[in-house]
Symmetry: C2
Subunit: 133 residues, 2 copies
Amino acid sequence: MEGFEEHSNNCSDSKLSAVAKVMLVTDKAVFGPGPVRLLHHINETGSVSEACAAMNLSYSKGWQLLNKMEEGLGFKVIKRFHGGAGGGKSELTANGKLLMEKYEELEKRTQNCLNDFFEEIFSDLEQWVDEEE
Amino acid sequence: MEGFEEHSNNCSDSKLSAVAKVMLVTDKAVFGPGPVRLLHHINETGSVSEACAAMNLSYSKGWQLLNKMEEGLGFKVIKRFHGGAGGGKSELTANGKLLMEKYEELEKRTQNCLNDFFEEIFSDLEQWVDEEE
């Protein structure tokens, strides 16, 4: 089974691994895994309300997230079109798309580091059995 | 102000930075920032109930966390002393202490990586102003 799976080990059904949740923060949380998913859905659907529905998020909670990130980041992530009453189309700004891409690069590279560190630091985890007391 | 602060930049009152929350997981979350704080408090106070109180956590919720981590990790993190009714002393096992130390090393090294990546990937963040539309 050589090379079968990069991070496989020899035993345990529910193998332990490490996951990094990356947050962008000022004095409060501004951006993270939830917000990036929201931007993805808006990018795909062209609609904040559809994006919120896809994430099981209320429309007002979705706009709260968007306003909070724009305030924290200091730039707009959503273009507002002057469409019909409350039903206008939405689209990410160039900065919004860049943020999405760069955040995902940040997340991916951090997770890769964490995977390496985890293997190194917890390499002997299988030998951590209960001592007799 | 050269060298004043390693990560300072030239402007913004509420500077953006990146924070890594490191979770140890199987098919569910096993360990993370909350649980490591709980172990620290138990280590300091010698008491699960005092540790829970210090974290504003109910005693039953504290034990839920401890049982979940022991189940996920496959070893005991707490020594149970056969003391008085419900009021026995608690102490971390050798593995519990090792877990605490190694998790913190993992967290620290991951955060250092993230800091470097953030500076690199978001180095031009100050120039992300709203475009005219």
